[in-house]
């Protein structure tokens, strides 16, 4: 275990953690990464077997169940804002995160006793609530624990560990089901045990106070102050750009579906396509985070969208080279590695520490809502014009939004924290 608690005194200035020229990754970041890794093993175990459990275990016909999905997504955006706000009030990042991780953990054994779709729906909603609550405070803690000039790398390390857990989860579930055929109860129980370890690591090894002492003139954390963040030029520009680009980001499932149609990917490989994206994300998250620290987070963020644009472009023409799925999935993973943590690193530079959680939640929610709108629009365009025209439209929209984002270009938030060149 990382000696993350050797600094349990409130918030040692992050800069002091650096040794020599090369800033080390703060112990708190490693601890939070470990929590995410363990938690993702737990949640992805369940995700991997849930369809099988519903169909063969409970004998349910889950078609109508997808309808609930959209409701959860909208709900989770609201919960995220609430989590961000609660965490900022009194600097209770850790308390809110513990509650969020804990709530998701207790949902796992509840799946065992839930025998019907409405109850399973309710349990999954509670699980999502936990995820929504914990995300913003966790990212705030990462940003507060990392040295400003190494934030990109800190987020890169965290996202890499998180993704590693997501890749391991289905494997663990598979091994359990191999030992105990139809052992869904065993999968859910083991998932709970794993999640409990994650909560314990969080409680024991992440310092309770990551927020700095509040300066006398610092803004008090309130809903009003959180909304007032949008009045700040830097935050507003960043949020606007994330929103704009989110509006042209087609959801993952469409990317996989397009790839399958274009390439005739054999059916048995279809379920493996998301793993390709995740693997690229895992490998590239740290290098791109470091790159973002060096050349500027904003540039890397835009570069990620350029990679996505390339992926769209490759899916368009009739080229069917055997390498196409690999290239597209690599670009898709590159897109995530260059945007997911990097945006948070950039946003952290623009939001004052007292409002860090609320600010990050605000930007995440804006981006997620925009992507949701894009998915609906893309589905409608696909229906009206066919997949090729829909994709071409999305590509043009992305190019336009990217141009808009370049023009809006926030004055390189990271400039303030000693990041890349202005």
């Amino acid at each position: 275990m990382y000696v993350a608690d050797s600094r349990s005194t409130p918030a040692a200035p992050a800069a002091r953690l650096t040794t020599g020229r090369r800033p080390a990754v703060a112990p708190t970041v490693l601890a939070l990464g470990t929590v995410s890794l363990i938690t993702d093993v737990s949640s992805e175990m369940v995700t991997a077997v849930l369809p099988l459990y519903l169909v063969t275990g409970l004998g349910l016909s889950p078609l109508g169940f997808g309808l609930l999905d959209g409701v959860y997504n909208g709900f989770s955006a609201l919960v995220r804002l609430a989590g961000g706000h609660l965490a900022d009030r009194g600097g209770r990042h850790k308390a809110v995160a513990v509650f969020g991780y804990g709530l998701s953990a207790v949902c796992k054994p509840l799946l065992l006793v839930a025998g019907s779709l409405p109850v399973i729906g309710a349990v999954l909603a509670a699980d999502r609530t936990g995820k929504g609550l914990r995300t913003a405070p966790r990212d705030a803690m990462i940003s507060l624990a990392a040295a400003p000039e190494a934030r990109g790398r800190a987020f890169g390390v965290h996202r890499a560990m998180d993704t590693a857990g997501a890749l391991l989860g289905p494997l663990v579930a598979f091994l359990i089901l191999r030992r105990a055929v139809d052992g869904y109860d065993a999968v859910f129980t083991v998932s709970f045990c794993v999640a409990a370890v994650g909560v314990l690591v969080l409680v024991l090894f992440v310092p309770g106070r990551t927020a700095p002492e509040r300066a006398p003139d610092a803004p008090r954390a309130s809903l009003k102050a959180a909304l007032a963040l949008l009045g700040e030029r830097e935050v507003r520009r960043l949020a606007l750009c994330a929103l704009l680009l989110g509006l042209a980001t087609v959801s993952d499932s469409f990317v996989y579906l397009l790839l399958q149609r274009r390439m005739d990917v054999p059916d048995r490989w279809f379920a493996l396509l998301p793993l390709g994206t995740a693997a690229a994300f895992l490998l590239l998250a740290v290098p791109l985070g470091r790159l973002a620290d060096r050349v500027g987070r904003w540039r890397v963020f835009l570069g990620g969208h350029a990679a996505l644009l390339c992926a769209y472009a490759l899916l368009l023409p009739g080229w069917r080279g055997a390498a196409l799925p690999y290239v597209v999935l690599a670009l898709h993973g590159l897109f995530y590695a260059a945007t997911d943590g990097v945006l948070m690193a950039a946003a952290a530079g623009a939001v004052p520490a007292e409002l860090r959680s609320s600010g990050l939640a605000l930007i995440q929610t804006g981006q997620a809502s925009a992507r949701f709108v894009c998915s609906i629009a893309f589905g409608a365009a696909w229906t009206a014009w066919g997949d090729r025209t829909a994709l071409a439209t999305a590509a043009v929209a992305l190019a336009v939004c990217a141009t808009g984002a370049v023009l809006l270009r926030p004055a390189e938030a990271s400039e303030l924290d000693g990041g890349g060149p202005a």
Partner: protein, 340 residues
């Protein structure tokens, strides 16, 4: 708390939780072993020769779900004595259907990193003729009356992060030529007389009229439709809404199906109906429970279907004219087909 104490707390918790996790896995594995023991009050099952040939007497072939060494194997019983001794074939299937000496068996295949599923075409002696890998969890299987065409439906997951957003994919195979239509989603759709395109179209539950025409369920925009399909023209036409998993009577005049009835609980929304294709009149059948299955016709007057039971599923029969009441056909069985 000092670091030392924290590590002690963590180590203790790890030991306890690892114990709980191990116990859960062993318990599940042990329960699985018990399912391989014959239960005292179960139907007698013995291994033997099973034939799908139409000329060896009237009988039912189904997936035997009774515990014991023959669990999940295809088994036959005489149609006249469905609760009598079962003959198990040694061939395991999750879903199955057979007609005119052709069987389609949807089964799980263990892989190195993940389990897969495949559709296996069987001849009258249950020998494998061909197999096709499946993109998801099998749910429906059918063979055309001539034995020439086979159709299957699977649930496809993985399209969404939550893992709860399902879609289905339905394939049709010409077993003589090997020509495989991987998904009906590529067919031309005519809805209410107009061409229709949508990305959210799903098909399931094919039932064959002959070797060129079939009926199936199509879902789009939160509605389900009965469609009639034309295989050579690669086209489906909608006939009616709110009709799932049709099953055509042997005389070709009626469809038995399940229908979502408003006001019923979300997890048990279906009731059984029969649609007369000449008059398009629906008749409610006398089954008060929700049935999530594609029915089969025992003859022109009687339908058979499965309901959850102590050993997974039991089979029931019911008059197809709305009269009478459900009768248990046999216990611990699923996916029946009538032979001979």
């Amino acid at each position: 708390m000092t670091l030392r104490n924290k590590l002690i707390v963590l180590a203790t918790a790890l030991v306890v939780l690892a114990g709980v996790a191990t116990a859960a896995v062993l318990h599940a594995a042990g329960r699985e072993d018990r399912k391989n023991q014959v239960q005292a009050d179960g139907p007698p099952v013995r291994g033997g020769e099973v034939s799908l040939a139409p000329d060896s007497g009237r009988r039912i072939v189904f997936r035997n779900m009774a515990w014991g060494p023959h669990r999940d194997e295809l088994a036959t019983v005489p149609a006249a004595d469905p609760s009598g001794p079962r003959t198990a074939s040694g061939v395991k299937c999750l879903r199955f259907y057979a007609a005119a000496g052709t069987g389609v068996c949807l089964r799980a295949e263990r892989g190195a990193v993940q389990d897969g599923y495949r559709a296996v075409i069987l001849d009258a002696r249950l020998k494998e003729r061909a197999h096709y890998s499946l993109p998801g969890i099998p749910t429906r299987a059918r063979v055309s009356p001539s034995g020439q065409l086979a159709a299957w439906t699977v649930f496809v997951g993985g399209d969404s992060y939550a893992g709860t957003n399902f879609s289905t994919r339905t394939a049709i195979l010409d077993t003589r030529t090997g020509k495989l239509t991987k998904t009906l989603e590529d067919f031309t759709i005519e809805r209410d007389g107009h061409p229709y395109h949508a990305s959210d179209v799903n098909f399931w539950g094919v039932t064959f009229a002959d070797d060129e025409h079939f009926y199936a369920t199509m879902a789009t925009g939160k509605k389900t439709y009965l469609v009639r399909g034309d295989l050579p023209a690669r086209k489906v036409t909608t006939l009616r809404t709110n009709l799932e998993c049709p099953s055509l009577s042997p005389d070709g005049t009626r469809l038995a199906f399940k229908k979502r009835v408003p006001g019923l609980p979300a997890d048990a929304p279906w009731r059984l109906y029969v649609l007369d294709l000449a008059t398009m009149r629906e008749t409610a059948l006398a089954e008060p429970r929700s049935v999530d299955d594609q029915l089969v016709w025992q003859d022109d007057r009687t339908v058979a279907y499965s309901l959850p039971g102590d050993y997974g599923a039991d089979l029931y029969t019911l008059p197809a004219d709305g009269t009478g009441s459900p009768r248990k056909l046999l216990t611990a069985g699923l996916a029946p087909a009538y032979l001979g």
